[in-house]
Symmetry: C3
Subunit: 210 residues, 3 copies
Amino acid sequence: MAIVPIALPLEPLLAALDMAGVAVFAVSGALAAAKSKQTIVTFAFFAAVTGIGGGTLRDLLIGAPVFWVGRSDYLGICLVAAAAVWLLKADRWRMSALLWFDALGLGAYAVLGAAKALNYGVPALPAVVMGVLTASFGGIIRDLLAGEPSILLRREIYVSAAALGAGTYVALSVIGVGMWPAAVIGAAAGFGLRGVAIATGLALPGYRED
Amino acid sequence: MAIVPIALPLEPLLAALDMAGVAVFAVSGALAAAKSKQTIVTFAFFAAVTGIGGGTLRDLLIGAPVFWVGRSDYLGICLVAAAAVWLLKADRWRMSALLWFDALGLGAYAVLGAAKALNYGVPALPAVVMGVLTASFGGIIRDLLAGEPSILLRREIYVSAAALGAGTYVALSVIGVGMWPAAVIGAAAGFGLRGVAIATGLALPGYRED
Amino acid sequence: MAIVPIALPLEPLLAALDMAGVAVFAVSGALAAAKSKQTIVTFAFFAAVTGIGGGTLRDLLIGAPVFWVGRSDYLGICLVAAAAVWLLKADRWRMSALLWFDALGLGAYAVLGAAKALNYGVPALPAVVMGVLTASFGGIIRDLLAGEPSILLRREIYVSAAALGAGTYVALSVIGVGMWPAAVIGAAAGFGLRGVAIATGLALPGYRED
């Protein structure tokens, strides 16, 4: 895997987005634990898996050092998110707020995952896949461990929104659009499509036999 | 992990087999999605996971660059397979044809996985395991995500056929048989045992308490 | 990931503990297969996944060569464990013995995983997480594949004991305690807490809405 020898241009705004994305997904993991009345340890486990699972798979696949292993802040955010949900009884809040935060995280993560993959010399199509995995794999693992129906098996637009966000970013990058406009437009596209799905229940049609 | 400094002798016939194996397994993933009437996005996800999941785990374990990340053709095959199953309504075909293609893929993949591991300096026993994982892990993940009973929990011969194919190849390689005869005999052994299971329902006995 | 350039000080006592831990967890995997009357092939698969799954994830995350891939003994232990459970009908033994062996493995593995991570230059918090994953991930995968409720969703103390053992080891290492005293105290703490849970059913409280 060729490593493009330019400095990673993700800092510092994307770094902040990255942390925010981890926090949002960690909260969603802790809320899944709250829903089935788990212990604080399971809260922490679910928060961490959901918060950092997608980026972990991306980094393993592209051959990058796993982003949270060499430092403590990412895990710290997940632990704080788990404790906050537990202490604040956040599962009683209006969940629509979380859905919208999650949509923001989805858009930002899809772009971030694709951008990191491109920076590692990954071609366009697998880079889009890395964006989709970064945005959705944490939630997939969370559902698997919780024994809940996977996000993959729901028809409501979710993975598609991640694909749109990552695909838009990669397409714009390929045709020479600068990183920042491409990132903003990509994240907005992913967030927008997911937002329409939240607001209207927009779903993809299922396969029909006849 | 010592990397054997010889050129990888897998090309070009095995490369063709490799692509065929990805396609066959991708189709089986898409058919699993069709069975539960998923969306086209889930078709694509299942096709990709099933088509490239086993080789991905193998490459991560032996420390090789993950085979599909640096190029677009493997993912492209999976997307085409998903679209083809969707458009052609392939789930209405006679499934016995697919079972036999899958058996071919099983034999080829078991040998391919073991051969790549040996090329990376992996000893005999773990190399056999790499062959088994390459041939079966994609289907295991597909079943997990779909919430279906795992291939692992069925008594019908499947994993055993992969083990026979990979084990035959590795044993022949260890005693000095050339790569091509070993590969053909190994793949034939795996395919043959799986074929007998398909034709006769041959299964392993389950554990009995008394 | 900086690799600390000192010789790995884990040998030879910890190497023996390591093998013992693999064996104990492999037996627990085979017993899970026995419980649902699986075939000998599934016994072997479950024994291997449970015995080496946790250390595999740890090594992938910290960027180390996966510990069992370059050699045959670890897999050999798993196969022997699977065959022994099958032949000796070990599932009819008193299970309390196994629970205590498992507790020993938990304590040893939590320390071993954290120690290896520290040796690879991983900071304190992620090193504790590596200890927890090493001790618990094999069982999590085993439960997932078997379709059983995950160890994560039980309130009885288990992951917490791994966290206590790994955390104690890392904390003592950070304040300058020598490796051996820290390892013994850490393993004893993890084993002790898990032992109390086995003996008394000690469990964490679940999340309450009101």
